[in-house]
């Protein structure tokens, strides 16, 4: 299984997902982040489709459909609605670390994930090992995004791209059982909605989407 077109395409799709997660890291405009995130969902669902087709695992087709509907359609549409309702301006930026810093740390996270995942497995196939490392990088990038971004919407996108990393890992081990996958997807969807409601709450009470402003109300400071 380590050679041939099936391996190459799986590899390619995984790499594209990682590339898009780099794009998420450096993209500064809040609205552009949403489309980038939707693109990641599309590629991820293609990866699931390919994995299902090349290994003849039928339930991965359904996973691909779920990923496409949730990650590439429902969530981006909801986010666009949020952005519209909050009157976020097209040029509103959330710089985070800036391009250089985000790239540097992003690359070191990829190295970290390779160093931590690769030693575990003589027993696992090369493809699984590599897609796990890719998935873990995407997960770490999502976390980096959550740490460095200040805008509540970019934080939510960071959160969802962590989930994308998890989905990628699940595809890499040739799919979790379907029932599990469906319920996880449902939970994540509910989570996104609740976060959306919180975003409204923050806007109403603190009159900003800047999460850091909330620190003023933290614990025993007030």
């Amino acid at each position: 299984m380590t050679s041939g077109i099936s391996y190459d395409v799986a590899h390619l799709l995984g790499a594209v997902v990682l590339l898009i997660s780099f794009a998420l890291l450096v993209e500064q405009r809040v609205i552009a982040l949403i489309s980038t995130f939707a693109a990641q969902g599309v590629v991820l669902s293609l990866a699931a489709l390919w994995e299902g087709w090349s290994h003849n695992i039928h339930h991965l087709y359904l996973s691909a459909a779920i990923i496409f509907t949730v990650k590439a359609m429902i969530i981006p549409m909801t986010l666009n609605f949020l952005v519209g309702a909050m009157k976020v301006h097209h040029h509103e930026t959330d710089p985070g670390l800036g391009v250089g810093g985000a790239l540097a740390i992003g690359i070191s996270l990829v190295v970290l994930s390779i160093v931590s995942i690769f030693p575990i497995a003589p027993a696992v196939t090369v493809l699984t090992k590599e897609s796990l490392a890719l998935a873990f990088s995407v997960l770490l990038h999502g976390m980096l995004m959550m740490v460095t971004r200040r805008n509540a919407i970019s934080q939510l996108i960071g959160f969802m791209s962590i989930e994308n990393g998890l989905l990628m890992a699940a595809i890499g081990v040739q799919g979790m059982p379907l029932a599990v996958e469906v319920s996880i997807a449902f939970t994540v969807l509910v989570a996104a909605f609740i976060f959306g409601i919180f975003i409204f709450g923050i806007r109403d009470r603190v009159e900003t989407l800047d999460i850091h402003q909330l620190d003023l109300y933290r614990g025993e400071r007030h």
Partner: protein, 479 residues
Amino acid sequence: MLAVPLITGALAALIPNRRLGSGINVLGSMGTLAAAAWLLWTPPVASALVFVDDLNIYLVLLTAFIGFTTTLYSTGYMAHEVSHGHLTGSDVRMFHSLFQLFMFTMLLGLTANNLGLMWVAIEAATLATAPLVNLYRSEAAIEAAVKYFILCGVGISMALFGIILVYLAAQPHLGSGMITLTWTDLYSKFAGLGGGVNQRILELAFVFLLIGYGTKTGLAPVHAWLPDAHTEGPTPVSAVLSGLLLNVSLYAILRYKMLLAANGDTLVPAALMIALGLVSLLVAGLMLYRRRDIKRFYAYSSVEHMGIATFAFGIGGPIANFAGLLHMAMHSLTKSALFFTVGHMSQIKGTRQIAAIKGLVVSNPALGWALVLGMVMIAGLPPSGIFVSEFLIVTSTVAHSPWLVVPLLLGLLIALGAFILRLQGLAFGAPTPAVEGKAPFATTALAPVYLHLGLVVVAGLWLPGQITAWFQAAAKLLG
């Protein structure tokens, strides 16, 4: 048992009348408790989705019991909040229905046989409680809720990564499909193979699972959400977060520790759990001294006690495991009782600042002495059940690795000091004035508090043979 809270939750959401709603809430929890008790007599049946064994049945009972007493308590609490205009009728309705949903997720998490289902249940518990933390809709409340949501969300995704790794490790032996995530099948297969499963993958998975579920257990250094969520949420929510949610996530960690142990790998998980447990104990112990808000004070004490329990399971062996289980139960009972008293206190005095509450024993004897009793219990002084469990933990640590006793005792003493210090100010001295217009509450409102504390005292003096045998069986399962 699982259906009762779900139906009650739906009913409570539909019924607009607050009085009726809280009645249904109480009845529903009573039904859940009865169903949980019934499980004791019916032989446990394992299916691919849910199962019952000696380890989870005791937590199921404890969860249903505390859920029931909390609904009793919340009836009075919510009536007071509504009459003082802090909450509206629809807030209370949301509280009732989400509370029942939370009970459902807790019980599902405890009885889940499928690792994915367990994950979903524990994540859903966060989703059900995050809006409850935000019930008062102040700036601080939304800060706490968002922080709770984000930290636990990220933590739980680490745990999911761990589950995927476990699946990866088990796949060569069990094939793919539902069976590879079914705990009982995994356990018997791992035990049958006797060490054939890739240890490095499992160890890596355990790191993720411990950090992930550890976030929800409130282990330092990933405990940051806990004090805020406990403080800003309404008091019944603080009581169940502290008394139930932390237990359930610790229980999830234990399930994985058992899997690793079945594979002949105990060293790495033990070391990690001992380290995290000690860090939590020491960090939280020191934090206790600087707290001005009484609910934050108790929240840090929860971090401390979860640290102690995690430490005990890290030490392992029949005695320490027994003590760890006992500690979880005793801490839940005492801490929820303490949160109940805090709720009454802050409603009477109109503040949660420790410095502004004095002389409770003089002004409200029944409440004041409940507080004294609870603080003495939680600090681990005899005749508390917590004293027994801490004593057992210390002795088994001496047998296991004597040098670990030093930091353990240090942590316990630091926390004890903080409790004695605060207790004097809160309970004794000249009383501070109460808020105008607070109707003197019925002494029956304290019934849940005294019930919990009474159980803890009884456990400290005498554990019935039946319960001891039960804990021992569970401790043996833990290896």
